[in-house]
Amino acid sequence: MISCTEFIPAYSELFKYLEAKGDIEAVDDFWNYLSDEFLGNLRDLVLQHGLRGCWLYWNHTLNEEAADFTMSIDDEAGEFRIDMHYCPSMGRLMSTKHIVPYHDYCRHCDVLYRRVLEPLGFDAVSDRTECHRAKCSFVVRPKK
């Protein structure tokens, strides 16, 4: 069994394997599939609770992933925000010196979550400019 604590390197290697099989499009096809097949819980929470569904979803996952983050929700302003100070996934990949992370690893979050949120009436914007330091931000707002 591959431990769930070893999943992130396995995930990164899967992206590399898919890109070698096809190209970046093969990786994107998988991310789209994963979003459709695996993120039903995020979809259901946002359908039921609106923007607050994001809060409920990431409050569960980011705590289990032992992330270093600040998360906020402002219902009146209509904004949900995650500031990832140190991403546990990218952090693990960077600290595991004998492996090379997939070159575009961090983009999967943007693809997976936007695909769920945009059809539900939200804009989702990620800032990955500091991914190489395991830092990023993610903001969700209702579409105007």
């Binding site: 396995a10 906020s72 302003a77």
Partner: protein, 155 residues
């Protein structure tokens, strides 16, 4: 409702997100559907040869005790019921119920038809280039109950 803010540091929580088992299972299922059965094993071999390279090295240097220590930690982290028997030439791991399979069953995730390859193929790949080999003696897809055996190859 007023604005709410939470802040957490890595040390506030234990790193144990079992839903990752479900994501891996989706990945294996996707590979099988789009690229065939052998692609699942190819991918797992590629991953194991890369990620577990230090474990393979330790197996070659220290013998089966290195694997026993690894699996004791893996199954303890996931609160699994296992019986591990170790001798110089054989390591046997009896898993009462695989924590990955049980988590997926309990949370309604699909268990990929080739999910057992995360044990069989990965264990075989870990042993490559060492005096040892691995076999999966049995595996129940419903619970993941099974027996893994590592043994010294015959010359």
């Amino acid at each position: 409702m007023p604005k709410e803010v939470i802040h957490r540091t890595a040390s506030d929580n234990k790193y144990l997100h079992k839903d990752f088992h479900g994501a891996l299972s989706v990945g294996l299922d996707y590979l099988q559907r789009h690229y065939g059965d052998e692609s699942v094993r190819d991918y797992l071999r590629q991953f194991a040869r890369s990620f577990y390279a230090p474990l393979t090295d330790a197996l070659g240097r220290r013998g089966l005790v290195a694997l026993a220590e690894h699996f004791e930690k893996v199954y303890a982290d996931e609160s699994a019921q296992v019986r591990i028997s170790l001798s110089d030439d054989e390591l046997r791991i009896d898993v009462e119920a695989c924590p990955a399979v049980m988590h997926m069953r309990e949370h309604g995730y699909t268990v990929a038809p080739l999910f057992h390859e995360t044990t069989r193929t990965v264990n075989e790949a870990i042993c490559e280039g060492t005096p040892f080999a691995a076999e999966l003696l049995d595996f129940d897809p419903a619970t993941g109950r099974g027996t893994q055996r590592f043994f010294r190859r015959k010359p």
